[in-house]
């Protein structure tokens, strides 16, 4: 006891002496080196630390410039510090780092720090602080904060990204990850030897770095190491699980979020996290609530991992059932369907599907009682949505969840919907099949990944590495070029051989001296005869005895109507009625399109009467939604067709006549004398300049006069509620389509006289509907405003009353609408409106 005390005293005295000596020699290089060399040999204890730090501080601050920049100075200081407790060295150097300004002294400090890290000081710090005898000190948080802030400090001080690559955020944290992994490995050995450890310090480190947002780098190497070792090593499992369990609550979220988002497979999570979700309320809240219900993620990996994780815990069924109930509740919430983004909703759907997939594995004891209630309500809201994508989500979930519940129905009867399978649906449905257990290859690859990162941050063979990589890349390039040549040569050979083989065939063909007649195009044969008259067609459609006949009639209606307009006009309304009520009993290909084009042809041949009929029927009772939508489509299509001038056909005819006119063979004597004289004058007259081309012939506007029949009656009954149609209520999809139709019809009347009146009444109509709850309808309103803007010749006059109103509304939508698409559409419409006004006022567009 006495001897150690005296030794301590002597060390202290010795340090003091050195301080004085250095000061008196003005920190001359040789003296400084001597001092350090001497101190390295000395045994320094905790009590001397303060004095020693003062000494080192002095050296760093005042040492000779030459000495500081010499190579051995770093080595000397490093050798001294590495024998001292790591926390002391770190704190000392980091304090220097803060105070010094840029210069060789600062560089000196940083390179010593780098040496310390690479020399494994951080690792030994971790191991040392995990000793069961240490108590958490206030120094911990200070040190962790300092370490975490190192990259930022270095970067801020030097402002030079080429310096100290070790302290680049990415490299540094990957390095820390590697060090943590190695520390855990050491700790595992410690436990093996029968000693106990504490994991709080490591937890704090991990938690703090994640909170800083460096989880991505920290786990880059650490995660693969955890995955591999926790799978195979029980000690690792114990340590790691304890580590994550003792991460403080406020840091837990950033840790868990990263782990769940980036786990390569759900299987690796239970060994790492253990049953944390049941032990810690905060963890449960983050994993089962925040990650599933509150986060806005585009990738479904997190959901898969969360549910994959809980499905492998001991009380999985309970947790899964609880989760799926919660999910379904959120999923089926009417307002959330309307007000959350599609992305978010898809994520929710994906979570449910994964849940279903895992629950169906746990066959025994399915507690699916409450599910049906939520599912039914949710499905209803989904199927009502005007958005096809939302409806599809509803259908998929409906199918899968009912399958899970295996509601007792008829034998093998399943709830099945019809929807198009695109990539997205296939992906969603595939979520129901949980992944298999990974093979040993997977763990091997994870281990390799860890080793790779470990090598990357080891900073040893930098130069060699680059020379090697340059050589390699240039070799690769050369090889590539050679290969390319080889393949091209081969290709050419192939080509020639192909050409050789070809003539043989031709020889056979040329042997056939018979020339073929014009071969008609092959068409599938059918016994039914084509209807020749429009009335036959009508009868055929009314009887529709068999599929072929109906198909023929339906395909030929369009043609027949065009051929015999007069006859078609007479029976147009009746024909329209019959076709509109036609059911697709025979599953004819393209039935919808055929019917629509037939309806359109009929409407075009007698627009006034048929349009009157359709618009009246639109608000009558005995139609389903599809038929009403068909009516709107047909009205729009016909309006478009009527308003397009038919220049093509007539142009051709007149050309043919022209050729006849200038036929040179006409005998002059047969013409009246005036023409003969005119012709001769024309032939002898010389004209300078170009002859004027005759202006294109104009056709009377076909749509203008009848536009009213298409337009006004459609607006008349929207607020009337009938048994099968409730436009202002649940049939908002029809309302939206109606608005789109009105907008398009208005656009078709552009250039006619009625357009202004129609536009202003449309805007008034829109004014009543534009605060509709459904974004589909609001978007349709915006569409109408845009159409009104483009169609009318003079916006400033038309909109003088409505202008401010409309503009204001568009601005409001941009500002506060829930739906992103709607906001975008509104911005476009606003731009359109402003541009047009600017043009009309004679301003330059900006």
């Amino acid at each position: 006891m006495m001897s150690t005390a005296s030794a301590n005293r002597s060390t202290r005295v010795c340090i003091r002496e050195w301080i004085n000596k250095l000061e008196s020699n003005e920190y001359e290089s040789r003296v400084t080196s001597d001092c350090l060399l001497h101190l390295i040999k000395q045994k320094v204890t905790k009590d001397d630390e303060q004095l020693l730090s003062a000494l080192l501080e002095n050296i760093i601050n005042h040492a000779n410039h030459d000495w500081i920049s010499s190579l051995y100075s770093e080595v000397l200081v490093f050798d001294l510090l590495k024998n001292l407790p790591s926390e002391f060295s770190f704190l000392l150097l980091m304090a220097r780092l803060h105070e010094l300004s840029i210069g060789s002294r600062l560089e000196f400090v940083v390179s010593v720090l780098e040496k310390l890290f690479i020399g494994g000081c951080y690792r030994s710090l971790l191991v040392q602080e995990s000793n069961v005898s240490t108590t958490s000190s206030h120094l911990w948080s200070k040190m962790i904060t300092c370490i975490g802030a190192l990259p930022d400090h270095v970067a801020n001080k030097f402002q030079n990204p080429t310096k100290f690559r070790f302290f680049h955020s990415e490299t540094f944290f990957i390095f820390l990850g590697v060090e943590i992994a190695q520390a855990i490995s050491t700790l595992a050995d410690v436990i093996k030897n029968g000693k106990e450890i504490k994991t709080e310090f490591i937890s704090l480190n991990i938690g703090h770095f994640c909170l800083l947002g460096k989880a991505e780098y920290l786990f880059k190497a650490l995660y693969p190491a955890l995955i591999t070792h926790c799978e195979s090593n029980f000690l690792w499992q114990r340590i790691v699980q304890k580590c994550f369990l003792s991460v403080p609550d406020r840091q837990l979220e950033s840790v868990l979020t990263f782990l769940f988002k980036h786990a390569p497979i759900p299987h690796c999570l239970p060994p790492i996290l253990g049953d944390m979700v049941t032990k810690k309320a905060k963890a449960k809240y983050i994993i089962l609530h925040k990650l599933l219900l509150l986060s806005n993620l585009s990738e479904t990996t997190a959901a898969e991992n969360v549910i994959g994780y809980i499905s492998r815990l001991s009380n999985a069924t309970f947790l899964l059932t609880e989760t799926i109930k919660k999910l379904l509740e959120a999923w089926g919430n009417k307002s959330s369907i309307k007000h959350t983004t599609y992305q978010q909703h898809k994520y929710l759907t994906a979570s449910i599907l994964v849940c279903v997939g895992h629950l169906s594995r746990h066959t025994a004891d399915k507690q699916t009682d409450g599910l049906l209630e939520h599912l039914m309500a949710g499905m209803r809201y989904h199927l009502e949505s005007p958005d096809m994508k939302i409806r599809k989500l509803g259908m998929i979930v409906g199918e899968k969840v009912t399958e899970l519940m295996s509601i007792p129905t008829k034998k093998d009867a399943k709830l099945l919907f019809e929807y198009d399978c695109d990539d997205e649906t296939v992906k969603l449905i595939s979520l129901c099949d949980p992944e298999d257990k990974p093979t040993s290859d997977f763990y091997q690859s994870q281990l390799n990944l860890f080793e790779k990162f470990k090598d990357d941050v080891s900073f040893k063979a930098d130069v060699d590495d680059t020379t090697y990589s340059v050589a390699k890349s240039s070799f690769m390039e050369m090889a590539k070029a050679q290969k390319l040549q080889l393949t091209t040569a081969k290709d050419e050979e192939d080509n020639t051989s192909f050409e050789f083989s070809r003539p043989d065939d031709e020889v056979v063909d040329s042997d056939d001296e018979l020339t073929p007649y014009n071969l008609p195009e092959e068409a599938a044969f059918s016994k039914a005869s084509k209807p020749m008259y429009i009335r036959d067609c009508l009868e055929g459609l009314i009887d529709h005895k068999n599929q072929e006949e109906m198909e023929f009639c339906l395909t030929n209606v369009t043609h027949l109507v065009e051929v015999d307009v007069v006859a078609a006009k007479e029976i147009a309304v009746e024909l329209f009625k019959v076709i509109l009520n036609l059911q697709d009993n025979y599953a004819i290909d393209n039935f919808v399109q055929l019917r629509r084009s037939a309806l359109c042809a009929v409407l075009v041949c007698n627009p006034k009467e048929v349009a009157e009929y359709v618009t009246m029927e639109f608000y009558s009772e005995h139609y389903n939604l599809q038929q009403r939508m068909d009516m709107l489509d047909v009205l729009v299509m016909s309006a478009g067709r009527l308003s397009t001038p038919e220049t093509d056909k007539k142009g051709k005819n007149s050309e043919v006549q022209l050729v006849g006119d200038v036929n040179p063979d006409i005998d002059e004597s047969s013409l009246p004398w005036q023409q003969v004289v005119e012709k001769r004058i024309e032939a002898k007259t010389k004209r300078f300049g170009k002859p004027r081309k005759p202006a294109g012939k104009s056709n009377p506007d076909q749509f203008g006069p009848v536009a009213g029949y298409f337009f006004y009656p459609l607006m008349s009954g929207y607020d009337r509620r009938i048994r099968t149609l409730d436009l202002l209520g649940e049939d908002s999809i029809i309302l939206g389509r109606l608005l789109y139709a009105l907008g398009t019809i208005l656009y078709s009347t552009a250039n006619s006289l009625v357009v202004e009146k129609m536009a202003s009444s449309l805007l008034e109509f829109v004014a009543e509907l534009r605060h509709h709850l459904e974004s589909f309808v609001r978007k349709a309103c915006i569409y109408c405003v845009s159409m009104a803007t483009v169609s009318v010749p003079n916006v400033t006059r038309l909109l003088s009353s409505n202008a401010f109103d409309c503009r204001q509304w568009l601005c409001d939508v941009i500002k506060e609408d829930d739906d992103e698409d709607t906001r975008r559409a509104s911005a476009n419409a606003l731009g359109l409106l402003d541009a047009k006004v600017r043009v009309e006022l004679g301003m330059q567009a900006t």
Partner: protein, 339 residues
């Protein structure tokens, strides 16, 4: 080349045409023999006057008709009546009339005179048993051979047949309901082909002609209720010493083409071996080149299944004609590829 239309159209009211054959016996002017379904009988259409020169009445629907060089016509109807009718001007006299069982769809196959020196009229018609065919000597009303498939063959009804002489051995080609084509040594009542199925559906029709390069071989075309058309080649080697040891040969498929619409009801090879004609269930007559089966023309006139097609020899002042008979009661006559 531009589109084509029929030279003329012949029609007996209300009777679907079942079989057509050109017939020029000796010095008489060329006739077109036409048999009808229902109770239409047989007409001898005079190709000059375009009128029926003679009508053979019948109570039963006719299956086939064939004109012999000797001035007789052989008719076969659905009730199994096989008749040899002598034509004297506008008068038809029954010379032989015999009843055969089991008449189905199969037309009577007559051995053409120029194949035979024995002066007997040999005709093959369906026999008593399922899948069997009998070869008759019509003049002597006696059965020469019974072609009963050996056990193990499940062939169904015979659908179409042809008789030819190979090295003065009578050979019968028969197409069956299950899609098989068989070649028979008639004298020994023996199958001399392997009997692989060519089609999944019944063989509807076939025609064959001698391979000019090889005496004992034939080219043939056959078609079925499927949409396939097959050209085959078959060799028959009768060893000179003993007829009994004739070798088993098989049909070698040379070319196979698919049409869009299934069902070919009739097929004929023109005698100059340049073209073949098929009549289809899709109401169309198609002309293909003999060598490559290249489609040459589609004759669109009929509005019913084309039950029969027939090529004429090169007729004086007419050229080579093609007659097509259909369920729409019309016989259309065409002139194609007359060099």
């Amino acid at each position: 080349m531009s589109d084509i239309s029929p030279e003329y159209v012949l029609k007996r009211l209300g009777k679907p045409v079942t079989d057509l054959n050109f017939w020029s016996s000796g010095s008489t002017q060329p006739f077109l023999l036409a048999s009808y379904g229902e109770n239409g009988g047989v007409d001898l259409w005079d190709l000059k006057t375009k009128r029926s020169a003679c009508h053979i009445a019948s109570h039963a629907p006719m299956l086939s008709c064939y004109g012999m060089n000797t001035g007789e016509v052989i008719t076969f109807d659905k009730e199994g009546q096989l008749k040899l009718v002598k034509i004297r001007g506008a008068e038809a006299v029954n010379e032989v009339c015999l009843s055969t069982p089991n008449a189905g769809f199969c037309k009577a196959a007559v051995l053409p005179m120029h194949f035979d020196s024995s002066n007997a009229i040999k005709v093959a018609v369906p026999g008593e048993e399922m899948s069997s065919m009998n070869v008759w000597d019509l003049k002597n009303t006696k059965i020469l051979s019974r072609l009963i498939p050996p056990d193990g063959f499940k062939l169904g009804m015979p659908m179409c047949s042809k008789l030819v002489n190979v090295h003065s051995n009578l050979v019968a080609f028969i197409g069956y309901e299950d899609g098989t084509m068989l070649k028979w040594d008639v004298t020994n009542e023996k199958v001399i082909s392997k009997g692989e199925r060519l089609f999944d559906e019944p063989v509807m029709t076939f025609d064959l002609c001698n391979d000019t390069a090889l005496d004992s071989a034939q080219f043939g075309f056959c078609a079925s209720a499927t949409n396939e058309l097959i050209k085959w080649h078959v060799e028959t080697n009768f060893s000179k010493e003993a007829n009994l040891n004739s070798k088993v040969e098989d049909f070698q498929i040379m070319k196979k083409i698919s049409l869009l619409n299934p069902g070919i009801a009739s097929l004929k090879i023109r005698s100059d071996k340049k073209i073949i004609a098929t009549g289809g269930w899709d109401y169309k007559v198609r002309i293909f080149s003999f060598k490559s089966l290249k489609p040459l023309a589609v004759l669109q006139y009929h509005t019913g299944t084309v039950q029969t097609v027939a090529f004429s020899e090169c007729l004086q002042s007419f050229g080579q004609l093609l007659a097509c008979g259909s369920n729409d009661n019309k016989i259309s006559v065409w002139k194609l590829y007359n060099s």
